[in-house]
Each structure stands twice: as structure tokens, then as C-alpha cells.
Amino acid sequence: MRLSPIGCAAVTTTLLLATAACGGREEAGTGATTAAGQCSGQQTTGITDTSIKLGGIYPLSGPASAYGDIPKGIKAYFDYVNAEKGGIGGRKVEFVVRDDGYQPPKAVEEARRLVEQEQVFALFQTLGTPSTTATWDYANQRKVPQIFVATGASKWGTDTAHPWTIGWQPNYVSEARVYAQYLKQERPDAKVAVLYQNDDFGKDLFEGFKRAIDGSGITVAAEQSYEVSDPSVDPQMRNLAESGADVFLNVTTPKFGSQALAADARNRTWNPLHIVNNVSSSITVLKPVGFENVQGVVSAAYYKDPNDPQWKNDPEMMLYFEKMRQYAPGANPAVPYFAFGWAVAASFHKAMEAVKCPTREGLRDAVRSLDNVQVGMLLPGVTMTTGADDGFPIESMQLMRFKGERWELFGEVIDTRKEFGPLTN
Amino acid sequence: MSTDSFLTISDLSAGYGDARVLHGVNLSVGRGEICAILGPNGAGKTTLLRALSGAVWTRGSVRLDGAGLARRSPDAIARRGVAHVPEGRGTFMPLTVEENLRLGAFTRRGRGEVEADLDRIHGYFPVLKTRLRQVAGSLSGGEQQMLAIGRALMSRPRLLLLDEPSLGLAPLVTRELFRIVRTINEQERTTVVVVEQNAHLALDIAQQAHVLESGRIVLSGSADEIRADEQVAQSYLGYRV
């Protein structure tokens, strides 16, 4: 019974024909259901009268694991709503979290798993620009809502080919505009030194800033980038200090944010106005540097920092602390990632309450027609608004300055859309 | 055989991995004797020594002065007084000559004794004394062989295993080396098992000898008996009786 290559091919073909004849695969849409009545024909996969299934993709392993805390805040919120409020509109929320290790191919795999195997109603948060970019074509082809993605890239709002994908947090370009606006008022001829992370996030914010100061007296005196794999940004900080700039824009993620703040504090010959971006403005970033070293630092915020004593008696914050202790007992509620998760989950709650049809199409339309929706964990005056020509749910931020042991908000809430006009590509 | 058997090997098999090299070797060596192991290449001579010092797997029994050695680790056997000068001399190349010698005394305590032993070794091998600070790797082949034997003696061994001490040495140097081995044996009553290609030399200093072929002992006897054996003479001594 010697098998030649030809024989091998013959066997293969036979088997192939046999399998093709007897078994087709389960069609991709098995389990896919549609609604009747007024919402007829719309997809109801993953949602029933008593349940909603959502899927999120976060880095739980690898170098970006810090963000793995966000889904814990979300889960705590949903657990609370499920147990005490009977779910969202009577529907208990199930939130499935998958790990992509911040790797795009893994994100694609997990998105497919969530949609095809877990049969989720929607992808609720994919974290990071690369992972979201790798998955949004798929989500939109499958017509699965990919909502409130955890990245501030501006393309989620400006793109028109992916109606099923939408962001949540203020985009990095808008944030840059807030800082530019502040400088135009305070230091109209500022010379700015910029430290930025050499990836989509840092580039987006830095480019946005450059565009926003175009035509003003403000100039970029020096720029330095770093890679996430760098051990330290100290060399970059030394080079920036030599520029003699009078403003320092710190566009970093937490660890590097602390390093840059510490380097600025150590250098007693260079004392610029220090603006740290929102990502690194958490108390948990400032505290290791020492509060005495970060006095007068400026940043912008849109949600409440649980470490900030001014929210001590805020009802939403009190609820947050109480329910976090109850539903996420091991977690420290002071970690701002938990609060972020709480805020975004609450935002989903509001959006879900506004849907006309409890379908995927209904959710897509609801998150694209938010009208001044208030969410307790967002700063007073910061609301969610979207529309046919507005794909950015949150576009308002408020400036704040560090004083004593907390941030002090100052000035009005800046609605960047009103202030600078809508963001376009 | 000798009346007072110091090293007793019974039914010893040994090898590497799946390959068995020794097949049930029996022999005994008297206290203070020099025993030569002869045989063709690949007969298992080196494996026999490695089996004695625990570097290969073994089956059977090895007793040194009544105490079992088989299936102990090499370092444990070394601590029981067996010094093995391996094929290729086992020099610690990057270390100095003095450090090599001191390593021989690694298992011993008592600083004074070690210093005295260093002097004793210098007595046997004066050339080493002039090179104490030199890196051992820079020594010539003969000097390295002296160093290896000196290192072995530093442990005050009860049993000295020498593997091909003449390998790669000039005839004059070899002769000198064997003379010293004889002296050591006489002065310190150290029992010696020597594996040697050069059967003449080995038989000159040995009291008894064994011929190993394909992992089995094929001939045993006193050095003179072996020398007189026609077969051995033909195969290993290069002449007919």
C-alpha cells in the first residue's frame, strides 16, 4: 500500500468531496436573530428581553496591562446595575472581557470570538488605536456596533465609512486645542518644549497642538520623542531643558509622565509652565513624584478623579466608592482606571436607555444621536452629544491646576466643538 | 591476586545513554599497588575509570576499602579519596597554576596542611613552582600533565586514577612522568590505576595488569605474567616472545 504523491492527492480530493458533500459549516449567522414589528429586520443577536451580552477587548497581559483595570470598573458598574436596578431596562448585562495583549492580530481573533462564538450584542470598548483599527473593518462588515472605543484617536469621529464604530473620550486633537487655547490667552508668545510618546497617541496630540497654534505667536522651541520600550525619558528631558522654552507640554503615558514631572522638578535652572496631558494627569501619577514637586502643573479633565477630595461628597462619587467596595472588593477604587470604566459603563447605560429599537441598529443610531446626555461621573458641564455630522460623544474639557494635594478646576468648561468648530480630517 | 584487596570491582557494567560499554567487569587492586589497564582503542578503558569516579551510569558494585562507591556522584566519590586525572588532563585553563593546585585540595580543611602539600608537589614537579602565577592554559602539554597529577595529589588521594598520562607527550617527558608516579606510589603508598596505550611503560611500573577488550576483561595477572603472554606481546608490545 504505497502512496505516491498522486495517490496522496487522490485521497485528499476524495475526502474533500466527501466532507463538502455531507457537511456544510454552520452558517456564520447561526444564532443570528432579527426583530419583528416596528424594528422588523433589525439584528437582535445577543439581546433578549432580559439580557444583553457585551464583549470588550483589553490588554490583560504584556506591557500595556495597566489598562486591564478598566474592565473591572465596568464590571463593577454592571454588577451593581444588575443586582440593584434589575439591569438596564430590565435586561441584565453580561460583559465578556478578552485579552489581546495590545497586539492587533490577537484583537482581530478576539473580536471574531466575541461576535461569532460568544454572540455578543455589541463590542463595548476595544482598547488602543492599533487594536481598534485592526478590528473596525470586521465590526462594520458584520454590522456589529463597536461603541465607546477606549482610544482618543480622532479618526473614530471623522471617518464616515465605519458608522458602527464610535469613540467616547475627548479625542487627542481636541485636548491639544484646549491647551493651545489656554496658552493663547496666558502666554501668547510662548516657546513650547514638547515631549511625546512616539506612537499614534503622542503623534495625534502633538500634531493637533501644532495645528492649533498655527498662526499664533506660540512656537514649538524643541521636541523630543520616546519609545515605550525606553527605560527613561531623562535624556530627552535634558535636551528639552537646554532649549530654554518657557512652557513644557508633557504628552506621555503614566510611567513616563511621572518621570518627566520628576525630571522637571529636579532641574532647578529650568522652570517652565508644565502642562501634562490628561492620560497622565491622575493623582496616581503625581503622587509618586511628590505633591510638593508638582505645584502649579496644568492639565485638562472630563471625568472626576476619585482621588480628588473635592468630589468627596459628590453623590455619584459616593455611590461609586460604595459599589466598588461591594462589587469589586479586591480593587482599590482610588485607581482612576476603575472610575473611567465606571463612567463609560454609565454612559452605555444612558445610551441603551435611549434606544428606540432594542437592536444592533437601534444602538448604532442611539449612540449617534445623543443629545446633551449627562453622566454622573463626568465633570459638571461635560455631556455627551452626537449627531449626523458629529461622531464625538465627549468634546468638552475643563482646565485644572494642581494646588496642595488636589487639582483645582478653573475657567469654564471648554466645548471644543463650539470653540474651534467641528473636527475634520 | 593480592591478599589485601583495596579496590574491589564486581560485575561492573557502565555506559553512556543507551550504549553499554562495560559488560560485567571484575577486578581487584591491592592496597598500595599500581594496576595497569591495557587494551585496544575503544575497549572501554576510559569508561572503566569514569565508572570508578562516577561520571557515567553504572550497574554492579565498586568497593573502596570496604565502602561502596557505585552510583554516587563524582564529587561525592572525590570526597572519599578518589582522584581522577582525566583524559585531556582536565586543566582549569583560565585559572593560574597555583589556583589549579589549590582546587585539588578543595575538599580538605586545614590551611597549614595545604601549604605543606604545595611544597611537597613542588618537590615532585619543580617546574610548576616557577610558574605558579602563570595561567594554566599557557603551559605545555607535559607541564599540564604534571599539573594534573599535582592537582590530584593535593587531595591526598587514597586511589589515583590516571587516564593516558603519556598522550601527546615526548618520550623523554613520558618516561620522567612515570618515574615520578612510581616515586609517589612508593613514598605515599597511594594505590594507582593507570590506563595506558604504551604498555611497556605501564608494565614497567605496575605490579599487576588487566587487558580489556570490548568491555570485558580478557586477561589478568602480574605485570610480568602479562608481559610474558604471547598474545599481549603481539598486540600491545609489538614483539614476539
Binding site: 520616546y226 527613561s232 529636579r266 | 592537582r151
Partner: protein, 293 residues
């Protein structure tokens, strides 16, 4: 000129940090021929232990001593439990085991202490020595001094103690070391323990500068590799010299070579390594390995 000297000093400070981890890498490589990918993560874990001690209220120096002791024991334990079972396996298998250890320790640290950054007490005062326009931070001086002291202690250990001699014998010729009665297994475990201790020192030096979090040592490890390659993987003194060279080269290139800029400065140690290896494949201080047919 003062600016140049200042950059030089800063480079030396960064280099000392790389050198300390490179030293730990070299210690293990010398004895086992294994590049321990988990070295940086082990150092990070040790640093967390030290942090835990200080948070519990122990004075810094006591916490340091305890941490070094725990790290030493931990290093030996890792050798006994994790590395020993694959001792006879191909070298690459052992290397991959250390990769597994890397992933494990990193994730475990995040699991136990979260990924939030922690501030670690700086054992050195904050000021700086000012001289002729040059300002040398006490912490830079401190790091350099600690690395020098560690080097000195290692030198004493290896050159002037019996254990050190035994360890060097194992590194030079493990088979022969066995034949003179050295317990090679224990010496290897001792080597791992020692490397873990030196690594702990490295982590504790790094933590006040970079802030403590589970990925703290990832970037440092790359530079430590470069340092060890440059100095020769079998030479502790070379590792230190290599570390300082890499630190200075990286800093100067980032500051003065316009085209390179801060984003490509990681290419500088790469270029150095490549250049050195092409001229001297065994590293600056390493011994040539001659393979016989």
C-alpha cells in the same frame, strides 16, 4: 564644553544602572552558559519586596539587607526548582525556560502589586555637587559608588575566597570541577543566588529614578544586554565597562547627533555592538573561544 561634560556625567549615571544589571547577567552566563532573560524581571520582583518592606515601616537599610537575603535565597531556589529539571537539555531549551520565567514573573508582579506606579525611596540625598558649571547629582554619585562597591565585593569573593575559587573552577571546567570534589550543582545555585542579589541591587538603584512598576526593567534589560555583549559575556569587569560605555554613547548621541534624534538613539548601542563584534567577536574584555575540530 561644560554642557558636554554634563552630558558625559549623566551618561555615566545611566551607564552605571545598565552595568549593574549586566553584571547579574554575566554572573549567570559565566557559570551556566545561559543568558537569563528573566534577570530584569527577577530584579523588579526583588525591588517590589524591598518596597513592601519599607511600606511595612522598616527603615530603608534594613529593608535593603532583608531584600538582598531574600533575593539570594530566591535566586538559588529558582535554579533548584526551575532550571535544574532542564539542566541536561539543549541550551536553547533552558533559554526558553527563562523566557517563560520572564513572562511569569512580570505577570505575577502585576497581579500582586497592580500596574500602577509606586514611588520608591531614594537612598541618596537629592542635591548635587556643583563644580565649574558642572552639576553631579548625589544620586548619580551614589549609583556609581554602589556599582563600584558591588564590583569590589565580587572581586574579593572570586579572587580571595575558596567558594569563589570553586565557582570559577565550575565556570572554567565543570567536569573537572566535579572530579576534584566540588558540588557543581550547589555552585550553580550559588551563582544564581549571587546574580539575583546583584540584580536586586540594580533594581533598587533603578526604582527611585524610573519609578517602580512591573515593566520597569524591560528597557534596562535591553541596554544591559548591549553592555554585556560589549564587555564580553564572560567578564564581570567588562560588563561594567560596557555598561558605562553604552550609557555615555547613548546619551551623547541623543544630545549631539542631529539626524539620530531621540527616536533613533536606541540605534547607537546597536551600532556599537555590531561594530565591536565585527572587530572583536568575543567582546572587548572577553576571552577568545577557540573551538577544536
Amino acid at each position: 564644553m561644560a554642557g558636554f561634560l554634563q552630558q558625559l556625567v549623566e551618561g555615566l549615571g545611566a551607564g552605571a544602572v545598565y552595568a549593574s544589571l549586566a553584571l547579574a547577567l554575566v554572573l549567570i552566563y559565566q557559570f551556566t552558559g545561559i543568558v537569563n532573560f528573566a534577570q530584569g524581571e527577577m530584579a523588579m520582583f526583588s525591588t517590589y519586596i524591598a518596597w513592601q518592606f519599607t511600606v511595612a515601616g522598616l527603615p530603608f537599610w534594613l529593608a535593603l539587607v532583608l531584600t538582598l537575603a531574600v533575593s539570594f535565597a530566591g535566586g538559588m531556589l529558582i535554579e533548584r526548582i526551575v532550571i535544574r529539571p532542564v539542566e541536561g537539555a539543549p541550551e536553547l531549551t533552558v533559554v526558553i525556560v527563562t523566557v517563560g520565567l520572564f513572562i511569569f514573573v512580570n505577570a505575577a508582579a502585576g497581579w500582586i502589586w497592580t500596574f500602577l506606579i509606586k514611588d520608591f525611596p531614594n537612598p541618596f540625598p537629592g542635591g548635587a555637587v556643583e563644580a565649574g558649571g558642572l552639576s553631579v547629582g548625589y544620586s548619580t554619585l551614589g549609583v556609581l559608588a554602589v556599582v563600584a562597591v558591588v564590583m569590589g565585593l565580587l572581586y574579593l569573593l572570586f579572587q580571595h575566597t575558596k567558594v569563589g575559587l570553586g565557582m570559577r573552577a565550575v565556570a572554567a571546567n565543570p567536569d573537572s570541577a566535579r572530579l576534584v570534589g566540588i558540588r557543581v550543582g550547589w555552585m550553580l545555585a550559588l551563582g544564581w543566588g549571587l546574580a539575583a542579589t546583584v540584580g536586586a541591587v540594580s533594581g533598587i538603584l533603578v526604582a527611585p529614578l524610573l519609578f517602580l512598576e512591573p515593566n520597569m526593567m524591560g528597557g534596562v534589560l535591553i541596554y544591559a544586554f548591549a553592555a554585556a555583549t560589549l564587555g564580553g559575556f564572560d567578564s564581570p569587569a567588562g560588563a561594567v565597562a560596557g555598561g558605562l560605555t553604552v550609557g555615555v554613547a547613548e546619551t551623547l548621541a541623543g544630545a549631539y547627533v542631529g539626524f539620530i534624534g531621540s527616536d533613533l538613539k536606541v540605534g547607537v548601542p546597536l551600532a556599537i555592538i555590531l561594530f565591536v563584534l565585527l572587530l572583536r567577536p568575543q567582546g572587548l574584555f572577553g576571552r577568545a573561544v577557540v573551538e577544536r575540530v
